[in-house]
Symmetry: D3
Subunit: 286 residues, 6 copies
């Protein structure tokens, strides 16, 4: 169950309106690695934990915090949109600054949301739950979380570099710091789980059931063998259970697949048509 | 540039048709963490590398291999669909097995693809590029890759547990082994990059520009403090640059946000209407 | 800012597992009118209110409650999935009940989420922010809310009718009651706003700028004139500013549109080709 | 069955081309509340009516009209795109007006549609049927319709404010008037249905089966109690069947949920790992 | 402008309800090549024609007819859903036929649409405008239309094979016949345009501006040279302007691409890190 | 199985950066008819061919080539983004060229991909597998391919017209030439299949099972009879099996559909409510 308090976790006041930046800032609100993604990802992982303890608590702590970040970003975006102009090409032609705004802002910020934030990214794609994952396996999921916080902090840093507004920078420096914490925390949780299980997810699948002969092999499918230089092609494997090796000229292990004809009621191309194609085949080409 | 050879990387022959399992197997072909996702993710990361060396080569090696896995899964699915029945409720009522197939198989496998694989997941959602990431920052992206191989292997293992077909199990045990390698290889590449940079992505953002006072703080936003037990709340931070701390009763750092009225040409709810709402406010509620 | 408590708003315990019903129940969690939709819709409306008062408070009260409903439904779905079987056609053929489950359940509940809830609807479409609206105009938005609670309660009632599980029915009867309240509350808020503005949204657009001659006209574009019987075709208009009228044989007010040719650099079909089409036109057809 | 006549319902001629405005105008053609949405929403509601009478007729009348609006908007957009320039940054640098167009217009209007309208919104998201609803319950659906016409008129008004082109304004003033009618008509139809049923949808679910004790309760989940001032928290409920009440400090009615472990074949995190997490738990934290 | 008449273009009465078949039939209503696709594709092509004549008239004739097909299919689906049962696993276990229906039908047909048709395909993906095209070049678009009618008829035929219901077969045999006509008509229109232009779209691009040396070359990128047997590798090209040729061992025409480093404010992986990767490179691998 | 070589199929070097054009060029990489679409379409068609011969070989040859085109376009886009500026409105106001770039470029090129290509179109919609088709019927699918190459070449030509950069033009003239070949090759393959089967897909459905009386009829559903002039309304049908005819005033063949009431457990609008609507019906309107 959730409670809301009206105060923001941290300030969200720009120095001045900037509808172009409002559009960009949408990325870390409603983009693939925006705050909606992490909030719902952590909540669904938390709800689905089959047990009850510190991992679930950590997920709910962080999920609830990300809801607060949605609120901060929505507030900042609404303020960046304060007094955003509307107009057409004639209006735009009269003032280059207004023209740049009219051409560059997200038109839905005026037409659809009435100067409010939208659950969408910086090009206007609406947020979708395809972005998130909750698999029931916490080591896998904490890796998803570490990735999300890495991508999210990278995007926040790029946005920080894109503005001269001290108020926006102030808020972003908060979010960047929180992403530092969240990378650290998932890193710590991953290390703990890896020490209890192993690094390969899932750790519960019997090793003898996989094709061990290719579990530590790098196949060179891209001409040039610079990849042979890496740690991943030399020495004991990272899971400690094998030895890396490198195959410079990988050959197929399987045959040319030939599929059976479809039943007539499927109305695929008839086998007779497919066969007849070879009737005129020049002999030297077979 | 790419070349194709007709042989499969590994065998893809089921013992018998099974249209229900064909539907499920679609998940690791065209789902969020299926082979299309990793193939295109590695290819885009590789194309976008700003430099040329072992990381790019590794990405292209692996991207090309994942294309081969698409091919293996498509072939296996087509064979699992061999002779799949069609029919209506009357047909279904005559034979419980046929009925189970008609009710449980993906109808598009008959109607749309003519007994061929579809670039979609196990519930029929078509594959979408929203699933993938290529950020230009390789540490961030290799974490995305490690996550993808973790989730992918987890799903392949669950599918392995779901079938009694020795041919399908044989192919899955190959794919599971390759996912073992791919988890190992991204793990190795991550360790190398972390040792050169630091664990926090991006490593190039000046530390003094983030709010360091909350870079290592766990806020307890979910009542109950089991999360205080974790490594993430105690000791030196994982990046070695701070000390974890725990705040049991986190208070807001910001104010209640009040947004300015919108310009009249936006036609939001009028400020006068919003204000008038307080006219009838009982005094004891303020 | 948000806080979470571990207890559920209301119980979410089924009498017994039922993976088929788990699939169906996803509709009111992650469907068009599910709890994710209302939670995020109310939150975005609340964040975007340009003013601060009872409407904003009401939106945040209800938005926070809907987050609790997401949690209840996710918990219920996870429990309905307890011990869900996996297997293929051979497994299915051995036991008709297991077969029905394998054919009818959402395969992602086993393969992707590991027996956890998914942010998706009952056919597996992932939730998307296209479902929600926050326009900045509260009368418009409260109508969206009343609609969402109407559709949501209708779906919950249909699900109630679809189960014999007393635990599921108990939880649904809670959610249905809350939807009763939420329909009542948005209804009340709408009445208040309509009494301050007018029923036509937005109320701030000058009446003389619209084509008043067709503001209260029902055009009969569907042969048969039963629609002429309605209140909407007779008497004073609902906004009190006009009189309804009915046009049985509506004629076009505009001309046949003919578009100018495209510039050559667009490479549309050439005007000469389009023109030449009339060269062979039989005279009696013009 | 449908017939088409070549004349437009109303004129759609701009004074001058304006590719930037063409992009914006797409919103009410192919956006969430654009004409495609209402046309298909009314048609599907009409096709699905289980009965035959004035409601169905009204739906088909209005659905057919909305098809005419699609045509008007498509025509207007094509004309706003007349002679739209193409070019790159070098071209743009030579003329600020051309530059503003090249930067601000929808590039697909040149590359994809060849200066024609696209079934998409103002940021280029293609129309999707997720936007619409036809539930079989007309009171619910007419509320969806009233909402759609409210949002649609609001957007049309905002577009009217954004242009100085008399031809565009002329067409918009027609569409705005029709939205006035359509809001009035659904309002009338809703009142009629509410008087026959009740305001709570669906009206056919037995009251005693819902948790009546919370059917009229406002829970204060957002700190601050301004929402207690509203009609929704005081007096007889809007459906006349209860009394509103307000709970300032709402407590959970449910327990902390603890989910059972998953079967081993699901390969979630092992219960032993989840349990072992408490082994090192400092005693004072429990 | 459009008019509707209440009668159907053709009968849509099944012999008996069949909720499983209702789900399948959705494919040709709301799938990629369903009636919504062709209706809106022809309408948008027609609205966008820059000229006025027989092609536009043909597009509008056919677009209006496809609207009638939407109506027929929606009606048929609603009737196939008559009395569709609801229930859970316990209900399903009592009657194998009911169980097959509950497991196999689209649950949204009961929960969301109240036994009405949905604008979605046979697996529940909602219709989206990504399916359609209107490019402004009629030869290109008529090829899209011929493809749509080919895929659509193929799917209708497969559905015909899947049912024993004489009423459904009767309606499908109508739709199949209309698809015969529509394939014939677009074929005729294509031939006419090809005879006026040429077969290569667009015909208006100066031949000397393309790399003529590879305009008629088949590159053998897939090992095995069966494709050399085809007409496409031998003789005069189909457009009459060149000669087909076959390259058995195609080599790259371009160089290995090396991208420049990104500016520091983008925070991609640093060039120094990418460079340093070669420091530990074993000498024999370069 | 696939192999990659590092060299590009053809050069991809622009003369100078141009972030605006980079955005546009995304269309033929990740749009509806971009290279991802054709690569995956040909690969899935090839994998699904139920037979093994020249058609499969041709599909794999061309599919592999399209992968090379993805690589060329990704490389070109990354280079067009070299040194792309970031900044806010203040930055934009200082230099009109920088302002045009900041307003017009795809913000994700900086924030998300770090100056790399994105699997998306020119307005930022991510690529989706809804764009492609593999039906198992090669004549149908080759028509899809001919359409894709027609639309793709049209878009490439429009982009060629939009740039003054000799390097970009050089690469586009390569792609345009390849599209010339691919149109020619699918045209040849289609002719071959049509000569073996017939022009109507699928050719395997017994003619007597369709309603032959409307297989060659053009119904005039759009007032005006210019469409009567066409070949499609006169003479022997294109498939040689019938005679075209034209119906100027098409009447319905079906009845007004009236659907049965829904069962009570569906909670649609009650039949009694629908019936009662006629109680107040003025007698002269029936």
């Amino acid at each position: 169950m959730f409670y809301h308090v009206k105060e923001l976790q941290y300030h969200a006041k720009p120095e001045r309106p900037d509808p172009l930046f409002a559009k960009k800032l949408q990325e870390i609100l409603g983009g693939q690695f925006g705050e909606i993604s992490v909030a719902l990802q952590y909540m669904f992982q938390g709800f689905n934990v089959r047990g009850n303890g510190k991992y679930k608590d950590l997920l709910m702590d962080t999920g609830a915090e990300e809801l607060a970040h949605i609120e901060m970003l929505a507030t900042m975006i609404a303020r960046l949109l304060d007094g955003a102009p509307v107009g057409d090409l004639e209006t735009a032609a009269q003032d280059p600054i207004v023209g740049a705004i009219l051409g560059g802002m997200n038109p839905q910020h005026a037409i659809v949301s009435g100067l409010g934030a939208i659950p969408a990214d910086s090009v206007g794609n609406k947020w979708k739950a395809d972005y998130i994952i909750a698999s029931g396996n916490l080591l896998a999921d904490f890796r998803a979380n570490l990735n999300a916080e890495s991508q999210g902090r990278l995007q926040a840093v790029r946005l920080y570099e894109s503005t001269t507004d001290a108020g926006v920078k102030d808020m972003l420096s908060w979010l960047i710091a929180r992403d530092t914490m969240h990378q650290n925390q998932w890193y710590a949780a991953i290390q703990e789980l890896e020490s209890k299980e192993n690094i390969v997810v899932p750790s519960t699948f019997p090793k003898e059931l996989e094709k061990r002969e290719v579990s530590y092999t790098l196949f060179n499918y891209s001409r040039g063998n610079k990849s042979a230089e890496g740690r991943w092609a030399n020495g004991v494997s990272m899971d400690g259970l094998g030895t890396f090796n490198y195959v410079e000229y990988p050959f197929p292990f399987g045959d040319k697949p030939v599929l059976n004809p479809a039943p007539h009621y499927i109305h695929d191309t008839l086998p007779s048509v497919l066969k007849s194609q070879t009737q005129h085949m020049p002999p030297n080409l077979c």
